[in-house]
C-alpha cells in the first residue's frame, strides 16, 4: 500500500475542505483526482507531500506516518515522492542539467559519474536527450513539464503526485505528457493526478476519485459518448475555466 488514508479531515489553514477521507492507492495504480476548483484536490495533494499538516485522522504515505512526522523529516518523505506541478516549478536560475543535479546533490548523491548517468537516464526516458544545457525559459511548456517529470523520477519514487500537470499545455502536448505518465505507472509506480482535462480521461480511462461536497469518492471514469457524464464534465470544465 503506497497511500493509506482513513477518516482524515483536510484543512486549508483553518478551513475544513475535506472530511472523512478514506483512500487507498496500491503500487502501479494510476488514479485521477477530479473536482471543481476549490473542492480540495490541491489541499489533499499538499497534505500527502507534507505541505499541509494532517490534523485529524490517520494517513501513511510511502511508509511515512503523516500524523507523527516531524518538520525536519518532511524532506525525507518528499524524496520518496515525485511531485509534478501545473506551473512546473523548475529552478529558473540554472539549466536543465543543473536542475536535476541539484535534486541529486540535495538528496545525498555524491558520485559525479553516477549522477551524470542518472540524469541522462531520466532525460532520455522523457525524450529530452541533449536538452540538458537549456535554461527552463528556453523550453516550451511541454518540454518543461517533461523536465519536471524527469526530476520527479530521479530518486525512483514509489508515488508520483501530479497537480494538474497538463493545465498549462495544449491538447496535443497534454496527451504526450499523459502517455508518459501512463508509461511510468506501467513500470510499477503509483500516480495520483489531479486534473480538469476530461478529454484525456476519456482517452486514458482509469480509476477516478472525485472531490465533492467535502468528500472524496470513487467515481466511474468518464467514457466516450456517455451523455449523462458528458454534461457534468462540461459544467465542470466551465467552472474550472472561470477560476483559472
Amino acid at each position: 500500500m503506497i497511500v493509506d488514508i482513513s477518516s482524515a479531515t483536510i484543512y486549508q489553514r483553518d478551513n475544513q475542505v475535506l472530511q472523512n477521507v478514506n483512500l487507498k492507492i496500491d503500487s502501479g495504480e494510476f488514479v485521477y483526482l477530479i473536482g471543481k476548483t476549490g473542492s480540495g484536490k490541491s489541499s489533499l495533494l499538499k497534505t500527502l507531500y507534507g505541505e499541509l499538516a494532517l490534523k485529524e485522522g490517520n494517513a501513511t504515505v510511502v511508509d511515512f506516518d503523516l500524523n507523527t512526522i516531524k518538520r525536519n523529516k518532511i524532506p525525507f518523505l518528499r524524496r520518496k515522492l515525485g511531485i509534478v506541478f501545473q506551473d512546473f516549478q523548475l529552478l529558473t536560475d540554472r539549466n536543465v542539467y543543473d536542475n536535476l543535479k541539484f535534486v541529486l546533490t540535495a538528496t545525498g548523491w555524491d558520485d559525479k559519474s553516477k549522477m551524470e548517468s542518472r540524469i541522462n537516464e531520466v532525460l532520455s526516458s522523457v525524450g529530452l536527450t541533449n536538452k540538458g544545457y537549456k535554461f527552463p525559459h528556453e523550453l516550451s511548456g511541454g518540454e518543461q513539464q517533461r523536465v519536471v517529470i524527469a526530476r520527479a523520477l530521479l530518486n525512483e519514487p514509489d508515488l508520483i503526485l501530479a497537480d494538474e500537470p497538463t493545465g498549462n499545455l495544449d491538447p496535443e502536448t497534454s496527451e504526450e505528457i499523459l502517455k508518459l505518465l501512463v508509461e511510468i505507472s506501467n513500470r510499477g509506480k503509483a500516480i495520483l493526478m489531479a486534473t480538469h482535462d476530461f478529454h484525456l480521461m476519456e482517452k486514458f480511462p482509469s480509476r477516478t476519485l472525485k472531490c465533492e461536497n467535502g468528500q472524496v469518492v470513487d467515481t466511474p471514469s468518464p467514457k466516450r459518448k456517455n451523455s449523462g457524464l458528458q454534461t457534468e464534465i462540461t459544467e465542470e470544465r466551465r467552472s474550472g475555466g472561470e477560476n483559472l
Binding site: L91, D93, F135
Partner: protein, 292 residues
Amino acid sequence: MLDKQNKYTGRRIRSSYFTTIISISLVLFMLGILGLIILNAKQISNHVKENIGFSIILKEGIKEVDIAQIQKSLDAESFVKSTHFIHPDSAAAELQRELGEDFINFLGYNPLLSSIDVKLNADYANTDSLSVIESNLSDNPKIKEVFYQKDLVSLVNENVNKISFYLLAFSALLLTIAMALINNTIRLSIYSKRFLIKTMQLVGAKSSFIQKPFILKGIGNGIIASTISIGLILIFLYYLEKQIPEIIDFNNIELYGALFLMVIILGILISWISTILAVRKFLRMETGNLYY
C-alpha cells in the same frame, strides 16, 4: 544566439549581486569614515588635553642640582608628558616682551622665580587628577607653588565629553541605519528567490542544504563589499592627506588596521546574519504567502 542568451542571463544574475555588493560597500564606507572621525577625534581631544599643563614655581635660591632632581622625578611620573625648565632670566625676558616695559630696571631686581612647565598626558588632564598631583607636589619643601587654570581644565573636559557624546550617539544611529539598509538589500535579493527556495524544499532538499549556498554567498558578498569599502576609504584618505595633511595622524598604522578589521568583520557579520534571517523566513513560509 543561445550562447548570447546564456550570457545575458548570467549577466543579469551577476548584476543583481553587483548592486547588492555596491550598496553594502557604500554603507560600510560611510561607517568607516565615521570610524576615522572618531579615531581622529580622540587624537584631537588628546592634542588639546595634552596642551593643558601646570607650572611649578620653585622656591628662591634653589640649587641647580635640586632643580634637575625635581625635573627628573617629574619626568619619571606616568602623568607627565613633558617638562620644561624656565630660568628666571628667560621668564623675565618673556614678561618684558609682553609688558613692553623694562620692569627689572624699574624695580632694580628680577622678582621672578625659577619654574617648571609640566604638560600632562591626556588621561590625567582633569581636575580630579590635577588636585591630587597638586597636593602631592606642594608637600615638597623646595616647591613654592603649583599653578594651573582650574576653569580651563574643566571647560576643555566638558566640551570634549559633550562632543564625544554626540559623536557616539550619531555613530549608533548610523550603525542602525547601516544594518537596516544592508538587511533590506539582502532581504530583497533573497525575496526574489523565494520561489526557488520553495521549489528546493518540494524536491526534498533539507533546510540546511538550501541555506548553505545562500550563506556562503552572503559571506562572500560581505568580504567583497568590505574590501571595496576599504579601498574607497584609502582613496579618501589619500586625497585628504593631499588637501589637509595635518588633520590625520598617519603614524598610527595599528589603529587604522583595527578600523579596517572592524569594517571587514562588520561587513561579514551583518550580511551573514541578514542572509540567515531572510532565508529562514522564506523556508518557513507557506506557499500561499509567497505571492504577497
